[in-house]
Structures are given as C-alpha cells and as structure tokens.
C-alpha cells in the first residue's frame, strides 16, 4: 500500500511528517486527514491553542515527495472553521 505524509504548513514553516500513513489512495488519505482535523478541533483541551491549529493546513506528499493534496484545517473540521 502506498504511504502518504501528512506534513503541516504553518504560514512560512513546514513541519515535516517523518513517518507517514499507509492508505489505499488519495481518497483514503483525505479521510485520514479529515478525521485527524476533527479529532484536533474536538479536543481543544488536549491539542491546545485552536487559533494556531486553525491556520494550519496539511500538505500531503507521496513517497516520491510530490505534493498530492492540500487540506486546510479551517473549514474541514466538524462544524468548525
């Protein structure tokens, strides 16, 4: 199964995902990214400053390092953003 990397973009900074997730295809990695965003927005007491998370986006890359998808946090959580 291919591996995709959920790198995090915070304005000028890219926080690289060194490990990645296995997923069937882009649709599945998108579901994983959205589930992650839901979990983060759903538990502010755990994940901390939501204003910071709200300006993040996932820049999802494949094993070759190619950008395959950008998923902004804002607007992609359950009823948040």
């Amino acid at each position: 199964m291919p591996r995709y990397f959920l790198n995090l973009r915070d304005r000028g900074t890219l926080i690289e995902d060194p490990e990645g997730d296995e997923a069937q295809d882009i649709a599945e990695i998108l579901r994983i990214a959205q589930a992650t965003i839901d979990d983060i927005f759903g538990r502010p007491e755990t994940y901390g400053d939501m204003r910071r998370w709200n300006r993040f986006s996932f820049e999802i890359t494949d094993e070759a390092g190619e950008l395959v998808l950008t998923v902004p946090f804002a607007g992609n959580g359950n009823g948040v953003g």
Binding site: D17, P18, T36
Partner: protein, 288 residues
C-alpha cells in the same frame, strides 16, 4: 556474596555477573546484601527487546521482571483496540505487580518500549520469596503504591494538561529511566501511547525542538535541555517522582541513619549487627 547464575550483557558490549554491588535495579539494590543473596540464584538475567510483550492482557503472568535498564510501558486496552499508556517502568521498578497482590492475570499489558535488560524471577520463585521475606514484600508493596500514584498522575494529566505538557512529562520520565540523553522513539508509537493523532505529536515535538529542549532525528529523541523540558511539563511531572523518592529512597536513608540494626528492607534477624547498604539516590527527580 554469591553472584547470580548468568551474565548480563549490556548495550555497550560489557557483560557482568549481577551481584549486589553492580545492581542497576533500585528496588533490588535497596535490599540488604543478605536478602539479595537469598534471591540471587533464582534471578535470571534476560534481555528486553523493543516491542516484546512481557505481560499479555488476560493471560497468566509467568514471571516478574526487575528492570535493570530500558523502559517498559504499562498499557490499558479496550476490546476495540483503543490503547493508551498508563505508566512507565524502568530500573526504579518491576513488571508483574499483580502477582505480588495475589492476582495471576490482568487486563493491562506490559510492552518493552526501550531495549534493556532485566533480572527475571519465575512466578513460583517470586511467590515463595515474598512469602518468606517480609522485608522484600514490604519494599515491593511500597513500589506498588508509588506506581499507583504514577498511573493516577497520568490520568490527571490526560484530563487536565495539554499535549505539550503531557509530551514534556513523558519525555522527562523517559529521561529519568535511560542511560544518557537519547532514546529511540517514533511519532506513531508516541501518538498511540498518548492517545492522540500523530500530527499532534509531530507538531508538539517541533515546538519543543524549536524551544531548544529536545532534538529529534531519525526515530530518536535526544534531550538537550532537561531543565527546560521539565519546566515545560509543569506540575504534570514531579508528584509521582517525589513520592517514590519519599517512600523508597528517603525512607531507606532514614532507616539506616536511625537504626542500622533494623534496616527497613533487611530481614529482622539477618540485619542484626550489620550496617545497611545504602545506594546513592538515583536519577528520578533530578532537575539539572
């Protein structure tokens, strides 16, 4: 003083025959030499390999492990395979607590997280030893109390502290239990242990790294500034560590200072007339 039956091979290539003098496990080291000698022949040096499961949920616990080096996680699971780490065991403790409490299995799991070595005792030999030696039982029960405080603090942290504080606490606790400043760690493992999504771990490590507390590279974490890291953990760190120091290490010192003839962890008869061996206080709670 008799040595134990086998040699322990350490990561740095050295191997030693365990004796009371070179013990790394702080509970065994807290026993009087006579009491340790009584156990020694039964203790089997074993390696602890990363990912090795020492205690499986619901299965009979066949041994106890006095950890000499490395780190073992205590993990709570649900049938749907949700897992979270509830505690850490290093050379300050032992794995197989239920046996001491008269219980032969547990819903929890013990998994080796950082490789190391342990001195293993079969459950039968352990039962016999704690029945025969009240001093051993008393010492280990004190450790059970300390471990219970640690798991309770983990529960408190999980509900009342944010990920940055929890991760700083966790790294500080690992640092207490390893030799040196670096240990293997994946974000995936840590995210499961802390019950959060991996990107939460990745960003938090990035924050701690940016603040100069740690350095992350190739599935390893190096503690760069212990004092700052411990400060980042805030109150989430320290209560359990202070309790361990109070009831195990300080109690040991007090007892030897106050009355060398009835040392806390000595057999009443065997201790008569012998000085108490006190090991220098360990690293737990170190602040610099």
């Amino acid at each position: 003083m008799r040595p134990c039956s086998g040699a322990v091979h350490y990561d740095d290539g050295t191997s030693v025959i365990p004796s009371h003098k070179n013990l790394r496990n702080r509970l065994l080291a807290a026993l009087t030499p006579d009491l340790f000698d009584a156990l020694c022949d039964q203790l089997e040096p074993v390696p602890l390999k990363p990912g090795e499961v020492l205690v499986r949920p619901g299965e009979p616990i066949r041994s106890v492990w006095f950890v000499e080096s490395g780190i073992v996680s205590a993990i709570a699971n649900t049938p749907e395979d949700r897992r979270i780490e509830i505690g850490l065991v290093g050379n300050e403790g032992f794995v197989g607590v239920p046996l001491l409490l008269g219980v032969d299995r547990t819903p929890h799991e013990n998994l080796v997280q950082v490789d190391g070595t342990a001195l293993r005792l079969t459950s039968a030999a352990f039962d016999e030893a704690v029945d025969r030696h009240a001093a051993l039982r008393r010492l280990l029960l004190r450790y059970v109390h300390a471990f219970q405080i640690q798991t309770s603090q983990t529960a408190l942290c999980n509900s009342s502290y944010n990920l940055e504080e929890r991760l700083a606490r966790w790294l500080t606790m690992c640092h207490d239990r390893i030799d040196g400043d670096e240990f293997p760690l994946t974000h995936e493992f840590l995210s499961i242990m802390l019950g959060v999504r991996r990107p939460g771990v990745t960003t938090t490590i990035h924050v701690l790294e940016g603040a100069g507390m740690i350095k992350a590279r190739r599935s390893h974490i190096r503690i760069v500034d212990r004092e700052k890291l411990q400060a980042a953990a805030g109150d989430s760190y320290g209560v359990a560590e202070a309790e361990y120091a109070r009831i195990i290490e300080a109690a040991l010192k007090d007892s030897s200072a106050a009355d060398a003839h009835t040392g806390l962890w000595a057999e009443p008869d065997a201790a008569a007339g012998r000085p108490h061996i006190v090991r220098s206080p360990g690293d737990i709670g170190r602040s610099s």
